[in-house]
């Protein structure tokens, strides 16, 4: 598909071995991208199956055991195999050194190791699925997880291993940002994507070990019955929830901060405008990363934790909303007096603003102590976190893929099909999840295989049916994207070096870049968003 005359990181060196043993951050990024997209497809398959099962009340074609396994797998795959590594490990790996004007990450071997650890973790998880999977929910709440049948040990062990991959990547990025910046690039000249990825990396390194310990304890609990979590052995199940959310809430920011980071860049570049409030956006990422460690208890307002803790957690939770809100206002204001190109990446960035706003605002309902009582563990929560995780992170990820695709592969995709697919995704997403807010506030509990036989069954059925229909549209959207992106590799127009008119280093090198990233020594001459001073042709 690429002329052999061109010598870039994709075409040279050749051979499978040159990929499997590569130390090039760009190739590792692509190898991550491939696996992550496969994981997304698997997670999506489970999601679609669940939605079809819920299309009507009563059992359709999945029995309750299969249903319970499927929603567990959907959650576990999407969280641990897809969304946590998605932006940092795939796009971050590719872009971060380029944006810094560096040749590679600080520790290329560690980088490759993290990929292999990911493969190992994924293989163990796959083994667990093949051996019968688990039905505990991705949260593995004890004591059900200590008592239920199924492959809990191998599944949690897989997730445990995946954690190391995440830690390796994080560590690598932190050192890279500190040590590998091009001459002249101060912290305030970092592209916001780098700031966001940096803040994420800090959480990855600090929070993931707690998940590791928790899962290890759970494994010990099942294997030898040490009695930390299971009350039947004298343990405390609420302790498990504390441990679990101590990681998993910061993990929410591992998922969303990179999304916000991408969108900051996309908005600035495609509106061709200096980003509004650069420092505030950068600091708010760090503030969110740190505050994110102090709010885990908001998952547990009615779990039996003390009412006083609930109050404190609710208070801090609201505070995290403020930097988030500021970011949104900054993005919108950036558009003012810009020169806005409505191409596919920008459509995703704008969709992010709208969907993430909905996700954020509905978080206010859940953060308010009294309101959470009724909404907790209903579809309202399901809708809320899908608006944040999918409407936020996945939409940003799609935007990022479309934005850097020309750089990564040196080809343009079909803009027309890009926009058509966007419409399917946007409409399908909202149809699937918006009505789930009402479904939840009307009382529909989550993780229900069957909702027949209730007084509210008819009402629930209307919302569920609509939701399932939306999921199909969403599925079509993803199918279209897959097709035109793959097609672009074969017959896409050759991309120019700087198709969007960006000002950061990655647009200064060729598309695709050479193995050593730059054929010259990059030196910083202007800020990342100086669209008021520099024209794209002068970078």
């Amino acid at each position: 598909m690429y002329g052999s005359s061109e010598k870039n990181y994709l075409t040279y060196p050749t051979g499978v071995k040159s990929w499997l043993f590569t130390l090039d951050h760009k190739r590792i990024g692509i190898m991550y991208l491939v696996l992550i997209l496969l994981a997304f497809a698997a997670g999506g398959f489970f999601a679609l199956t669940l939605r079809l099962e819920l299309f009507r009340s009563g059992e359709q074609f999945l029995d309750q055991d299969t249903y319970n396994k499927f929603f567990t797998l959907h959650g576990a795959i999407m969280v641990f195999l897809f969304i946590i590594p998605s932006i940092p490990a795939a796009l971050g790996n590719f872009c971060l050194p380029l944006m810094l004007g560096a040749k590679d990450v600080a520790f290329p071997r560690l980088n490759l190791a993290s990929w292999y650890v990911y493969v190992l973790g994924a293989a163990i998880t796959l083994y667990s699925v093949a051996m019968g999977a688990v039905d505990t929910g991705w949260t593995f709440y004890s004591p059900y997880s200590t008592q239920s049948g199924g492959e809990v040990i191998s599944m949690t062990f897989g997730v445990f291993v995946l954690g190391f991959s995440s830690i390796f990547t994080g560590l690598n990025f932190i050192v890279t940002v500190h040590k590998m910046r091009a001459p002249g690039m101060t912290w305030y000249n970092l592209p916001l994507f780098v700031w966001g990825t940096y803040a994420t990396a800090v959480i990855q390194v600090l929070a993931t070990p707690v998940l590791g310990i928790t899962l290890l304890l759970l494994i010990l609990e099942r294997a030898v019955g040490i009695g930390i979590f299971d009350p039947a052995m004298g343990g405390d199940p609420v302790l498990f929830q504390h441990f679990f959310w101590f990681y998993s809430h910061p993990a929410v920011y591992i998922m969303i901060l990179p999304g916000m980071a991408i969108v900051s860049d996309l908005i600035a570049v495609h509106s061709h405008k200096k980003i509004f409030g650069y420092k505030l956006i950068a600091y708010s990422s760090v503030a969110i990363a740190l505050l994110g460690f102090l709010v885990w208890g908001h998952h547990m307002f009615i779990s039996g934790q003390s009412e006083f803790s609930s109050m404190v957690f609710s208070f801090i939770t609201f505070f995290i909303g403020i930097p988030t809100g500021i970011k949104i206002f900054n993005w919108v204001t950036t558009l003012y007096k810009g020169q806005i190109s409505l191409n596919t990446p920008m459509l995703y960035a704008l969709a992010f603003i709208i969907l993430f706003t909905i996700g954020g605002l509905t978080g206010v309902f859940l953060g308010a102590l009294g309101l959470d009582v009724h909404l907790h563990d209903t579809y309202f929560v399901v809708a809320h976190f899908h608006y944040v995780m999918m409407g936020g992170t996945v939409i940003a990820f799609l935007g990022g893929i479309h934005h850097w695709w020309p750089k990564i592969f040196g080809r343009m995709y079909s803009e027309l099909w890009g926009r058509i697919a966007f419409v399917f995704i946007f409409v399908g997403f909202n149809m699937t999840f918006f009505n789930q807010f009402m479904l939840g506030s009307q009382g529909m509990p989550r993780r229900y295989h069957d909702y027949s036989g209730f007084y509210k069954t008819d009402l629930f059925e209307r919302y569920h049916g609509f939701s399932s229909f939306g999921a199909l549209i969403l599925g079509v959207g993803f199918a279209i994207i897959t097709i035109y992106l793959i097609a672009s590799l074969f017959n896409g127009k050759k991309a120019s070096d700087n198709p969007w008119g960006g000002l950061t280093f990655e647009w200064a090198t060729t598309s695709p870049p050479p193995t050593e990233n730059f054929s010259y020594e990059p030196v910083l001459k202007h800020g990342p968003y100086d669209f008021d001073k520099v024209l794209p042709e002068d970078i």
């Binding site: 059900y144 409030g277 309101l371 907790h376 209903t378 009307q442 295989h449 520099v534």
Partner: protein, 308 residues
């Protein structure tokens, strides 16, 4: 079900519900406001400052800072957030502080059924309460985590093994309502649901009296879900049939032979894992905490009558 709900919320059938709904709609309209502001601004800017087709990139304004604007959009949300936090906390206090005169119903949650024990001794799988009196549910679980949720009352609380948790409400509309388990608890989680019935004080009294005598075994057989696993006609389900069970001699999974007598039946119901019948999985839950002594007697008698 009585009363009409709104588009977002189900009928408000408890005293706490209207207060809940006010806070809900307060945040709701605030959210609508901010959403509209953000969306309209975004769309307006995109339309106004759109790059024309084929237009070359030009230098744009360096406008990236405006202190009054930034203060406005930091301070106003912060103030609103404070209001919401305090309001939400006050709501929570109403849930938390249980009125001293509340009538107490004991709840036992178990995979995958509910049991409610009333002050006067009755014990049922449905929750029946008098209208206009505060009711406290004192809840425990015998196995894994569960959570009791009555949407129309806006109440929910997790149930944790090895400790009591509680919640209270005062129903003020007669009618029938759904009650769900909302903490995932395994295979039949979505079937762990029951009904709440709110009745007038006199109806409630009448119901209590009717239910204070121990029902016959055939009623209990269905009420406690024995019928989902044990047939009466000789067919094999999840568990062995009750037909001709009493007096027979059975092989256990460890190879021993056991004669089915009263004590064996008693043990099988209270401690099902003690002896496992050959060819079956140990899936039967214990009924130690759900059955009263009288109910256990009736069930055993019922099983005995299934043998010729």
């Amino acid at each position: 079900m009585q009363g009409q709900g709104t588009f977002n919320l189900p009928p408000a059938a408890s005293t706490i519900a209207p207060a809940y709904d006010s806070l809900f709609y307060f945040i709701y309209w605030l959210s609508v406001f901010f959403f509209v502001v953000i969306t309209v601004a975004t769309i307006a800017f995109v339309i106004k400052y759109r790059r024309k087709k084929g237009e070359a990139f030009k230098l744009t304004t360096g406008f990236c800072h405006n202190t009054p604007l930034e203060l406005v959009w930091s301070v106003i949300p912060t103030l609103l957030i404070f209001v919401i936090f305090i309001w939400g906390f006050q709501m929570f206090m109403r849930y938390w502080v249980i009125p001293g005169n509340a009538m107490e119903v004991r709840v036992t949650a178990q995979q995958w059924n509910w049991n409610f024990k009333y002050p006067e001794g009755a014990s049922r799988e449905i929750l029946v309460v008098p209208k206009g009196r505060p009711v406290k549910l004192l809840m425990q679980s015998v196995d894994v985590l569960h959570s009791l949720f009555i949407p129309d009352f806006r109440v929910k609380m997790d149930i944790v093994p090895n400790r009591y948790t509680s919640l209270w409400f005062q129903a003020d509309q007669e009618g029938e309502y759904d009650l769900y388990c909302t903490e995932y608890c395994g295979q039949k989680h979505s079937r762990m649901t029951t009904r709440v019935s709110v009745r007038s004080e006199s109806e409630y009294r009448k119901w209590l009296e009717e239910n204070s005598v121990t029902p016959t075994g055939d009623v209990l057989y269905k009420r406690y879900g024995c019928n989902t696993c044990h047939s009466l006609d000789g067919g094999t389900g999840n568990g062995p049939t009750f037909k001709n069970l009493f007096g027979s001699t059975e092989k256990m999974s460890d190879g021993t032979m056991v004669e089915v007598d009263d004590n064996y039946l008693r043990e099988s119901i209270l401690d099902p894992k003690a002896k496992i019948v050959d060819g079956f999985e140990p899936v039967m839950p214990t009924f130690k905490n759900t059955l009263s002594a009288d109910e256990l007697d009736s069930l055993i008698d019922f099983i005995k009558t299934q043998a010729e």
